[in-house]
């Protein structure tokens, strides 16, 4: 075998492996997306069908259009959006201030505080569910979006702080110093100079922060019953029903997933920062 044919064989094997990996990785999500467009006969049919006449009836039903508005998931969709936006805003606001302080203002004990914030990130959320529920119960706040926004914000702060800390560290110190020499106060230097420069970092952090409140079931399941339920709760409840409507469930799953996929493409290069949280050198 010549070196040339060996290389071609090697390349073919590589591409074959990659294709199989991608199919295995994408198939489950692709299949549920496909099911969301299947008429009920096909969704429950045997053998499972890859080709069928697509329908939007499940999306219409999920939105309560032209049918039973009782079954509409629109309120849950709105709750998901409210909880996600509020959490992202609050975590970003506090995380920006804290990250800037740790990176640039160097308070005494900055190292310890940074480690402490990272350690908080390791806490298992499920171990916080009981006190969170009791707290909400005592304050008569169960089944409100506020009862979700508060724990989600707290759980998101460590990640937001950490990511923004990294972004602020990367910005050139000279610009800030120049602003102060020009007569800005420390706060003005932060607000007018550093914050605009950190905009890409803020955007990446926002996208990353959105994932927890949007995706989570651990807190939303025990803390909501009807008024404040979010999409993951609705989707998870299908388990207890007889004869699950897979088309409709597929539509809800797709609505939950499509923004996530778009955002994944947007922030791909920052993902490593978020997940490894400083343990891997950038």
């Amino acid at each position: 075998m010549t070196i040339g044919t060996r290389r071609i064989l090697g390349q073919t094997a590589l591409y074959g492996a990659v294709v199989i990996i991608v199919i295995f990785s994408a198939a489950p999500l692709f299949w549920i997306l496909l099911t969301s467009f299947k008429p009920n006969v096909d969704a429950f049919g045997w053998p499972p069908k890859l080709f069928f006449t697509p329908t939007l009836e499940h999306y219409a039903a999920a939105l309560g259009i032209g049918g039973d508005t009782e079954k509409s998931v629109l309120p849950a969709f709105l709750n998901s959006i409210i909880v996600t936006l509020a959490t992202t805003f609050l975590a970003l606001a506090t995380g920006t201030l804290a990250g800037y302080s740790l990176a640039r203002l160097k308070p005494r004990g900055a190292g310890t505080i940074t480690l402490g914030i990272l350690a908080v990130r390791m806490l298992p959320p499920i171990a916080l569910v009981v006190p969170m529920f009791q707290l909400a119960h005592t304050l008569k706040a169960t089944d409100t979006v506020t009862a979700l926004i508060i724990p989600y914000t707290a759980l998101s702060i460590p990640l937001a702080t950490w990511m923004l800390y990294g972004f602020f560290l990367d910005l050139p110190r000279e610009l800030e110093e120049a602003a102060i020499v020009d007569g800005c106060t420390r706060f003005e230097a932060f607000w007018r100079v550093m914050l605009p420069l950190a905009a890409p970092g803020l955007a990446a952090t926002a996208v990353y922060t959105f994932l927890l409140p949007w995706n989570d079931l651990v807190f939303s399941l025990p803390l909501t019953t009807s008024n404040a339920v979010t999409l993951p709760v609705i989707a998870s409840r299908a388990r207890v029903e007889e004869g699950v409507l897979w088309g409709q469930l597929g539509a809800i799953a797709s609505v939950m997933t499509i923004p996530v996929i778009i955002f994944t493409f947007m922030v791909q290069k920052y993902i490593i920062r978020g997940i490894a949280a400083g343990a891997v050198k950038q």
Binding site: I126, A127, L155, T185, P222, F263
Partner: protein, 295 residues
């Protein structure tokens, strides 16, 4: 030498003012509840019998360590974690090595492979529930093509391996991503020196790449171990802990004890046991990492 110039007070307090909101929120909404939960774990505290609420010392912990069903829960959680994390590391390493090669479309493939770990665990579990459906699931259909009978994946002793597969499917990309970052941060000159000295691909991996990659592998191992020990959502959505408690991991047990039986004392105890195990693993990891750094 004169007195050092005192900085203006306003400037002095700014670092702390900026830190305050984050630290206060963390203290009030994570640390305080955690400590409250610790107190709860020393109590008999059932929402259905408020009149019986009292301090019972370590009784709940002794119950957890002695109770047959709870011990089965711990055993399952540990076994589930060990098997799942093992396969995640194995597959994640393989994927990282493949993606570290250069080929056309590499960047696109990388992003595509990340998608499972970004989507909601609820969606991941639902997708697999559809695939594994006994009557019209794609998996049973594909198996029927090669002559295997329909399996009740989630309603039999296959439930544990089925959930493992879902978990591995969703979280291997995380391992892949970390290891890929590790591979790309390896010093190029050392690897090239090995190539010059005539090391083949296997020798290169065994003697050069693997030793350098070990700290990153440990990191992935610890992260995945911690996150798998607390698994809740996939189990909840796929089986709810059943059939007959066969998939009752500690996460689901905490939820059930608190919100089915309203036994907050015991649920708090289970929460703290999970927490303690998580902390121990983190400490062991930091030890290992330090030893790696020294050797």
């Amino acid at each position: 030498m004169g007195q050092p110039i005192k900085p203006r007070k306003r400037r002095d307090s700014l670092p702390y003012l900026f830190l305050a909101p984050a630290v206060l929120i963390l203290a009030a909404t994570l640390i305080a509840p955690l400590l409250y939960n610790l107190g709860l774990s020393f109590q008999q505290n059932n929402l259905l019998e408020p009149e019986n609420t009292r301090f019972v010392g370590l009784q709940n912990y002794l119950w957890a360590l002695g109770d047959q069903a709870t011990r089965a829960t711990f055993g399952l959680t540990l076994g589930f974690t060990a098997v799942t994390v093992f396969f995640e590391l194995l597959l994640g390493l393989g994927l990282a090595l493949i993606l570290n090669l250069s080929f056309r479309g590499n960047r696109l493939v990388r992003v595509l492979l990340l998608i499972p770990m970004m989507v909601s665990e609820v969606v991941a579990a639902l997708s697999w529930r559809l695939l594994l459906h006994t009557d019209f699931g794609l998996v049973n259909y594909l198996l029927s093509l090669v002559g295997v009978d329909r399996q009740a994946w989630l309603g039999s002793s296959l439930a544990v391996p089925a959930i493992m597969i879902v978990e591995i499917w969703q979280h291997t990309p995380f391992v892949m991503l970390i290891l890929l970052a590790g591979l790309q941060a390896l010093p190029r000159d050392i690897i090239e020196a090995g190539e010059v000295d005539g090391a083949g691909p296997i020798a290169k991996f065994r003697y050069i790449i693997w030793p350098l990659l070990t700290p990153i592998v440990l990191l992935a191992l610890v992260f995945r171990t911690m996150f798998t020990l607390r698994v809740f959502t996939p189990v909840w959505v796929l089986t709810g802990g059943g059939p007959a408690d066969q998939t009752m991991v500690i996460g689901v047990d905490i939820y059930r004890t608190a919100f089915r039986y309203y036994d907050f004392g015991k649920a708090a105890t289970l929460s703290w046991i999970l927490l303690i195990v998580t902390v121990i693993i983190t400490l062991v990891y930091m030890r290992l990492l330090r030893r790696e750094a020294l050797s």
